[in-house]
Every structure is written in C-alpha cells, then in structure tokens.
Amino acid sequence: MDKSEIRHRLGRFLDGELPEEERRQTAELIRQNPDWQTEYNTLLTIRDMADRLELEADVSFWEKNRDEILDRIKEREKPEAEIVKTEKSNRRGMVIKLLAVAASIAIIAFVSIYEFETISPEKSLTSPQMRIDDRAVPVPETISKEEREQMEQLAEPEVIDSSYIMGGETGAVSEIVDMTDKDAVSINLAGGPEFRRPDRNEAAIQEFDKKEKLLPAGRDAADEAIKARTKKLPEKPPEPAIKEPSPEPQTTAAPMNAAKVVQPKAAAESKPQEAEGYSAEDLAETVEVPIQELNPQKLDSLDNVYYDLVSKHYQEMAVKGRDVKGDEEIQQRINSVASAYFLNGVTVKDSSTVQKMIARLENLADLSPDSAMRDSLIQLADSLRRLNR
C-alpha cells in the first residue's frame, strides 16, 4: 500500500466510515506499523487544524450582525404594514369623496325640486317646447340676443355635467378617483356601484344595499387586521446573549450555579492564546474561576482547555501509554465546562468540539491496547453522547 492508499483508509477510519472489521484491522495497523502511525498523525494534525479554526471576531461584530438581521426582518414587514395603512387612508379619502358626491346630489335634488315647483310640468327642462325665455327665472331685458344664444348653449352642458356627477354613466366616479389616486384601485372596484344613482338601476340598488350591509363588518375586520399587524412588539433592551448570563437559565439550573469552572492556570488568564500548548501535567494544576467572571474570550480558552483536556490527554494516553486520571475527575471537569458553556449562552450540543470528541474517543478506544482504558474511553464517549443527546 502506498502513502495515498494508507491515507485514504485512515481518512475513512477517522471519519467513522469503515466497516467494523476493517476498523479493527486499521487500529491494529496504526498501533504496530510506524508508517501507518506517521500518516495517522499527519491526518490527525490536519483534523486538529480544522477543529481549531475559529472565527475571532469580538462580541460587537456578532451583535451588529444580529441587529442587521433583525433590521432586515423589520424592513420586510414594513411594506405589508404600509399597504394596510394605504388602504385605510384611501378608505378615509373615499368617505370624503362620497360625502362630496352626496352633497352635490343633495344640491341638484334641491334645485330640481325647486324647479318642479316653480315650472309647470309641460314646460319642464326636458320638454321640446321649452325655450329659455319661458323659464321661471326672468331674463333681464337688457340682455342682447347674442348673449341669450350663448346662455342657451351653456345650458346644455350643464345638464350633462349634472348627469355625470350623479354617476349615471357606469364607473364615472371610479374613473375620477382612479385618475387622482391610482393606489385606490382595489377599493374603487369594490365600492364602484355605491355611487350610481339608485333610481336608475334596480340591480345596482340591491348591490348597493348588500355592500352597505357588508361594509361595516368588512371595515371592522380590516381594522382588526391593521391593529394586529401594526401591534407593537414588546420593546426590550438589547442584551448580549453571550456577554452576560441570562437570568432564566441560572434559576432553572440552580445546581450548576454552585459549580466552579475548573480551568488550568494558563487558560484562566484572559488571553486565549495562553491556553495553548500546555502539557498534561498542567491540566492537573487547576484554578477555580467563578462563572460570573467568564467572558467570550475566556470561553474560547475554555474550549481549548476542553479540547486538550479530553482529546490530547486521552490521545497521548492511548497512543503513548501514559497514565490517566480517573474518569470521575474528567467527567466532573466536562460537566463544569458544559455548565459554563450553558450559562454563557453557548449550547453544548452545538459545540463542534463535543460532537467531534465522541467520534474521536471511539477511535481512540479502538487504538487503545488496554481493555480497561478502552472501556473508560467508551464510557466517556457515552457520557458525552448523553450530554449531547
């Protein structure tokens, strides 16, 4: 087998993609064959580099991104609210227009009644015998013939205008509204027949009545919808999710609050870089850091600690046969780190370290020459799986 083939097999071994039998054989080869061990270590280093690759932006970057997302959500909700608002304002405008039309109708009706009372039926405006000098309103004697003819001509369009205003022609008012307010099209379409004069069309009257009955309910429903859509969401002050622990989980996780996060000395300091490169012996020297003092930088350190604590320690132990500490202590530390993650708003199950650790521990268990060690590795992997469940 050449290097490439060895790497291919080892890659599948690391990814947990080998069948059981092949997996055992590969583990055996890694233990016994230095070439395989070298290639295995190379791939492990690649994987460690991949694992350690973290985005280093500070909290303000993430908060800014969060705010941008929320702003974009608000922006997208805005047009909907505006459409509703437009409809509402158009409806108000329509009421005013309706009133204006009604006032015109009332004036014209008043004039008509007045004329019917003062002019005899056979000399009505529509009568062919009707002449301008027969009208009840006396024409001054001083008026010239030309002026009189001009008045006669002007009288004709006046009749057409009043008919137009009355809405005698289909959609007359709608056309006006359409010309003045294009946004109001949907409302005009719904309310068009309202403006027709009832005595001209029985069907229109029925439709008008029907719509009048429906309209209030429709308006109420629309108002309700507007209220619901424009309802203000409870304003809460922006609070960084990671910076400070949320009060709710602290109360529900009361037993965890009592826990101190166990960190190696190097990691307890605020610079994450200093957490790297400490030996297994360093891990034994622990300091207690109150959870409240943790910040994202310290969490990063913690991540490295966690990684080194479980991974490197066991890796060295399994491959080089070094002594190990008891499982109980390791598990306690894992729990402490998990509590710290949780109380600082980082979910354990989303920590890639935890997920990868399970697969890694299983691989290491395969590699382990000692059955007790193998059992303890499997037990630890199971603990993590339960944590991650």
């Binding site: 190379t42 997302i69 037993p255 708003g345 979910t347 354990v348």
Partner: protein, 200 residues
C-alpha cells in the same frame, strides 16, 4: 459541581435545561418576539458563519447568506418542529443557500479545469477572510482550504464542520457516497501537500 449530584443526572439536567431554554426562545419568537429571536441568532450564528465562510470563501457573501438564512427561518418558524434542535434546521437552510451560490458561481467551470489550475496558498491576511481569522496557523489552514477545488472543499467542509456522514453529504449534493469518499480523500491529499511546511 456538587458531589451530591450524581454525574449522569447532572449531565442530563444540563441538556434538558438547555433544550427547554432554546424551545422557549423559539416559542417566543413565533409570537413575534424579535428579542428572543436575537438570542437564537447569537447562539448559532458563529458556527453557521464559519461553515458558510469556508464553503463560499467570501466574507461578505457568507454574511449575506447567514442573514438570509435567519430571515427565512424567522418567516418559517411556525413550520419548525419544536422537538428538534434548532441548529441543524438553520444549518440546512444556510447550506442550501450557500450551495446554490457556489453552483451559480461555478457554472461553466468543470472539475478538471479547477484541478488543472495551479493551486497555491494565497496570503489570506489580505483577503476576504481577514478580520475573522486572526491566528497565523488558522489563516494558513483557511488559505489552504480556499485553494482547494470547490468540489473538494465543499465535501471536506460538510464533513469536518457539519459532521455529516458520507451518505448525508451524498444526499445533500446529489452525488454518490463513493464520489464523496473520493473527493474527501483528494481534499486531504491536497491539504497535506499544501500544508507540508506546517506538518513538518
């Protein structure tokens, strides 16, 4: 951790409390609470952005995709199954958007073209990944990853950063599991070659 609490119980308590906390946030967000949704964003965006950034190689594109994914999630929150964890769901949305972007970008390019192109590690300190990746070793690794042909990089990132099995990757990309296996292997080979100085 108090000694009186049995280890196993303590572990499951953390998991349970944490799951309930996320569920509460989602329930509040469903009712229009943007503050709760903001907390969900803070919980998951870092991991999500890392994956998308490594897939697309562009900081601005990755930020756009992550934002878009959260907006889509907000709009579809009612369809979300509360018994499941949130991250895999949002990650699926973001992956879908990222892979679509990659598909659009690489249209017209064949794998052979990419493989035959000269691969070299660019100085990512001046590239789009700067400001987000500070450590020197991380930069070199990110640059090596970026230098991989897109099809190798995609499978490698999905395997390493989303913990997807070969079968899951195959289904996601609509390719065979054998192809996934081959591409991951070739990605590793290239990385070993590109990072030989780092690997000693």
């Amino acid at each position: 951790m108090s000694k009186e609490i049995p280890e196993e119980k303590a572990i499951s308590d953390v998991s349970e409390v944490e799951r309930n906390y996320e569920r509460e946030l989602i329930e509040d967000a469903r009712e229009g609470d943007k503050y709760a949704f903001g907390k969900l964003i803070m919980l998951h965006q870092k991991k999500l952005l890392r994956t998308v950034l490594l897939l697309t190689g562009s900081r601005d594109t990755a930020l756009d995709i992550v934002q878009d994914a959260f907006i889509r999630a907000w709009n579809a929150l009612n369809a979300f199954d509360l018994d499941r964890p949130f991250y895999p769901w949002i990650a699926t949305i973001a992956r879908f958007l990222a892979l679509n972007y990659i598909k659009r970008e690489s249209r017209g390019k064949s794998l052979d073209d990419e493989q035959n192109a000269k691969i070299e590690i660019v100085d990512s300190a001046a590239g789009p990944l700067d400001k987000l990746i500070e450590k020197e070793t991380d930069r070199k690794f990110a640059a090596a990853l970026r230098a991989l042909p897109e099809q190798f990089r995609t499978v490698f990132v999905l395997r390493m950063y989303e913990d997807m099995s070969y079968d899951q990757i195959a289904k996601t990309l609509n390719i065979s599991a054998g192809t996934v296996d081959s591409r991951i292997h070739r990605a590793r080979e290239k990385l070993v070659e590109l990072l030989k100085d780092e690997l000693g």
